[in-house]
Point group: C2
Chain length 455, copies 2
C-alpha cells in the first residue's frame, strides 16, 4: 500500500512522552494554584460563530484568524480566551453570581508567520474576576499573589512581578497636557530598556514633537526608581494636580499595602512606571512578570484591570481584572533555557512489574494491589529477554522494577529494585507497596522547573 508520510504541522507543538508529562504537571499545578484563589474552571468551545467571535476584532488579529465555512455557517477558531469569556458572561449573565471568578486553560489559534518559538496552536492559562457594575480594588491587589503562588509552585524563583496603574499614566499625561499623544509617547517609552533614556528623549522631541520641557517631565517621571516606598513617595509629589492621577496613586498604594498580607515577598514585586500594556483595553492596575535571568524573553504573565469586558455583546457594565500565561510558549522557553527539571518523574508508571512465570496471576494480583494503594503500576508481559526488559524499564525511567519468579511467589514475596540506586530487596507484597509509596512521597513534590545554577 502507498504510504502517506506522517507529519505534524509547523507551529503546532507535539511533545514526546517525557516532555508531555512535564507539561501536564505544569498544567496541573496551574489548575491547583488558580483553584486555591477561588477561581472556578471553565471550558468554552474552540469554534465560535464568526460574527460573535469577531464582533470586536480587526486589523492584525483578524488576518490571523482560522476562519472557514461548514454548510451555511461562518465559523472561526478562538484566538484568545478573553473574547469567549465576554461571550460567556454576556450569554449566561442571569445564571452567574458576581464577582465571577473563572480560570480557563485551553488551546487558542493564530495563523502567525511560522518561526522558531512561535506557535499557531497554543495553550493560554487565564484567570479573570468579573464584577457586575463595580469591582473592588482588592481584586487588583490579589493578582500579584496569584502570580507569585503560581510560578513559585512551578519551581521558578528568580522572577519579578512588575506593576503599574494606567490611571497614573493617563493622569500624568493629562497633567503635562500631552494626553492627546499618550499612545505615541508610551510607544517610545516602551523602548527605554533597549535604547536608553537619552535616545527616548530625542525621539520624543523629534518624532512625537514634544517641547523640551515636556520631554524633561517625561524623562523625570520614567526615571523614578527605587523600592516600592521610594517610588510611591516620589509619585506623591504629583498629587493634587489631576484627579485621575490621584485615584491611580490611591489604587497603587492599596495594591502595595496588602502585598505582605497576601504573602508576596517584597523582592518579587516592583512598581514599574514604564509598563503600559497596550493602549485601550486596560484602565487600572497592569501587570507584567519578568524572568530575572532572561529579560529578553519578555513578560511571561501579563494582564490588568479593564472597565468593560463585554461591551460588544451587552449593555451591562462588566469591569474585571485578569492575567494570562502563554503556557505553550513558556514551556518552549523553559526547555530552551534548560529550566525543565529532569529529576521530575515522567515515567508512565512508578513500578514496572516483570513476571518470570507462566502463570501471571501473582504478578497481576501484585499490580492490582499497587493500584489500589494509588501506585501507578505497569505489567510487562511481552516475550523478551531479561536484558531487553530491563532496557525498557531504563528507557521509561520507572523508579522501581518488581520481579516475581517462582521463588518469590512461593514465599509470597516480590523482588523490588530501586532503579536509581540499583538496590534490590526481597519484600512481602504489602511491604513492597509501602516501600514504593514511601519513596514516591519523599520525591513526589519535585517541581517541573529547576533553575540552572548561575555561574
Amino acid at each position: 500500500m502507498a504510504k502517506q508520510k506522517p507529519r505534524t504541522l509547523s507551529g503546532f507543538m507535539e511533545l514526546l512522552p517525557a516532555r508531555q508529562a512535564q507539561f501536564e504537571r505544569m498544567a496541573e499545578l496551574l489548575r491547583k494554584a488558580y483553584s486555591l484563589y477561588g477561581f472556578t474552571p471553565l471550558d468554552t468551545p474552540i469554534i465560535e460563530a464568526s460574527e460573535v467571535l469577531l464582533a470586536k476584532a480587526g486589523g492584525e488579529t483578524e488576518k490571523q484568524i482560522y476562519r472557514f465555512t461548514k454548510g451555511d455557517s461562518d465559523l472561526s477558531l478562538r484566538f484568545d480566551l478573553t473574547v469567549p469569556l465576554a461571550k460567556y458572561v454576556a450569554l449566561h449573565y442571569a445564571d452567574l453570581s458576581f464577582p465571577f471568578r473563572r480560570f480557563q486553560i485551553g488551546k487558542v489559534y493564530r495563523g502567525e508567520r511560522a518561526q522558531r518559538g512561535r506557535f499557531r496552536e497554543f495553550y493560554q492559562a487565564d484567570i479573570d474576576v468579573i464584577g457586575d457594575g463595580k469591582l473592588d480594588i482588592v481584586n487588583e491587589a490579589e493578582i500579584p499573589a496569584v502570580i507569585y503562588q503560581t510560578f513559585t509552585s512551578l519551581g521558578l524563583k528568580r522572577f519579578q512581578i512588575r506593576v503599574n496603574n494606567r490611571k497614573i499614566l493617563n493622569g500624568f499625561y493629562q497633567l503635562i497636557h500631552w494626553n492627546h499623544r499618550a499612545g505615541d509617547i508610551m510607544r517610545v517609552v516602551d523602548k527605554l530598556d533597549k535604547i536608553g533614556a537619552e535616545k527616548v528623549g530625542l525621539m520624543l522631541y523629534d518624532e512625537v514633537g514634544m517641547d523640551q520641557d515636556a520631554v524633561d517631565e517625561v524623562l523625570k517621571f520614567i526615571s523614578i526608581k527605587g523600592d516600592n516606598q521610594e517610588v510611591l513617595s516620589a509619585l506623591e509629589e504629583y498629587r493634587g494636580q489631576n484627579e485621575t492621577f490621584d485615584q491611580g496613586l490611591d489604587e497603587l498604594n492599596t495594591v502595595v499595602k496588602y502585598l505582605a498580607a497576601f504573602g508576596v515577598p517584597e523582592d518579587h514585586f516592583t512598581v514599574d512606571l514604564t509598563i503600559a500594556r497596550g493602549l485601550d483595553y486596560y484602565t487600572g492596575t497592569v501587570y507584567e512578570t519578568a524572568m530575572l535571568d532572561h529579560p529578553e524573553i519578555g513578560s511571561i504573565c501579563s494582564g490588568g484591570r479593564y472597565d468593560n469586558l463585554a461591551e460588544y455583546y451587552t449593555d451591562k457594565q462588566l469591569p474585571g481584572v485578569g492575567i494570562s500565561i502563554g503556557l505553550t510558549r513558556l514551556f518552549y522557553v523553559l526547555e530552551e533555557q534548560g529550566y525543565l527539571n529532569d529529576q521530575l518523574n515522567t515515567a508512565p508508571a512508578d513500578v514496572l512489574i516483570l513476571p518470570m512465570t507462566d502463570d501471571l496471576s501473582p504478578a497481576i494480583a501484585f499490580a492490582t494491589k499497587l493500584r489500589q494503594a494509588g501506585v501507578r503500576a505497569q505489567l510487562y508481559t511481552e516475550q523478551k529477554k531479561f536484558k531487553q526488559k530491563m532496557s525498557y524499564a531504563d528507557r521509561l525511567g520507572v523508579p522501581f522494577a518488581a520481579f516475581l519468579g517462582e521463588d518469590e511467589i512461593a514465599q509470597g514475596k516480590v523482588s523490588l529494585k530501586d532503579m536509581a540506586t540499583g538496590e534490590q530487596k526481597l519484600l512481602d507484597v504489602d511491604e513492597a507497596a509501602q516501600a514504593v509509596l514511601a519513596a514516591l512521597k519523599a520525591s513526589g513534590d519535585a517541581a517541573p522547573i529547576k533553575e540552572p545554577e548561575r555561574s
Copy 2:
C-alpha cells in the same frame, strides 16, 4: 454601540460553572484511573494536514470533517484520537518505547446533523497500548480492569463490561462457510436485542439468503448464554474445527482467567457473543460497556484489539488494543438521567471570607494562611449589605463562610460558619484552617456520579 447577540453554536457543549466543576472532576478521575495502569498522557494538535488526517477516511466520516484552507494549507480538525495516535506513533517511532501505553483526553470534531444529545465538538477519553510487531494477550485481559476501575472511581455501580473475540466470530463463520457474508450476518445479529431471535432468523434467511441449517447454526451460536464458565464450556464444543476459532477461544479463556487477579468482580463482566464492534478494524478481543438500568443508551466505553494501527503511514506492524469513552455524551446522558451527584462540592472556593473592617489585612492574612494549608479561599470585598454577601455565599454553594469583624480581629480569631448546618464557631485562625481541612477531608471523596434510587 450596536450589540452583537452572544450565542454558542448548537452541538457545542458549554456548561454553567457548577456543572463544569462536575465535568472537570470526572476528567480528573479519568486521568487518575488511566495513570494507575501505566498510561502516559499525550496531547496532539487539533488541526492536522488533511492529506495526513484523511489518509484512511472516506464515506460518512469524510463528510463530517471540518476541513478548510489557510493560506496554501489544506487543513482538517481531528474527528477522533485514533488517527492522530497512528500518525504520532509512525512519526515518532524511533523515539518511543514499545509497548507504548498512552491516554489522551481531548476534543474532537464531527459536523453531524444537529440533534438533541449529539455533539459536534466533544471530548473523547482514550487509552491504547501499542506493540512493536507483537503484543501480548495480557494487554487485552487488562482492559476490563481499566474499565472497571474507571467507572467505579466515577461512582457508577450498575454497569457491565461485555466482551467477545473477533477471532471466535470469524472462525465460526468460516466454520459454517458463511464468512464471505460475515459482515451482513453480524449486522442482522446486531438487531437481536431489538427484534428477537425469531426475526433475526427470518432476516438471515430472507435477506442474507442463508440456508435454514446455517440460520439454525447462527441462532444456536448467539443463544449461548450463562455465566462466563458456561459460555466458555459451550464454546469448547466448537473446538478443533477451525484454527482461528480455537485461537480466539484461547484468548477469551485467558481474558476470563485473569479477571479475578485484575480485581474485576464477576458480576461486572460477561462474555457476550453478539458483540462485534464494526467490521474491519478489530481483530481480537472487543469490549462494550452497558449501563444496566439504561440499555437504551448503548455502550459507554468500547474498543478492542487491532492488528495494524498505522498501516497508512508506515510499514511497521503496530498491533494494539484500546478503548474510548465519549466523555461529552456520557456527561450529557448522566445529567439527563439524574446520575450527577449534586452533593459534590462544586463551589469555586471552600471558604468565603467576609471582612467586616476597613483594614483588610487580617482577612487577607487569613486567606493566605488557608491557601498555604491547601484550602481554596475567596475574599469577598465588594461593598454590599450583609444579606447580599450571604446570598452570594449560598448561590456559590461554598461549604464555609468566615467573618472577621473588630471583635474577632482583636482576639486573633475568626467566626467560621458551616453553611450546611448553620453552625457558627469562634476559632483561632489556625483552628479554623484545621476545622475546614478536616471537614473537607471527610467529604472530599464524593464521586461525581450518584445512581438514583431504584424503585
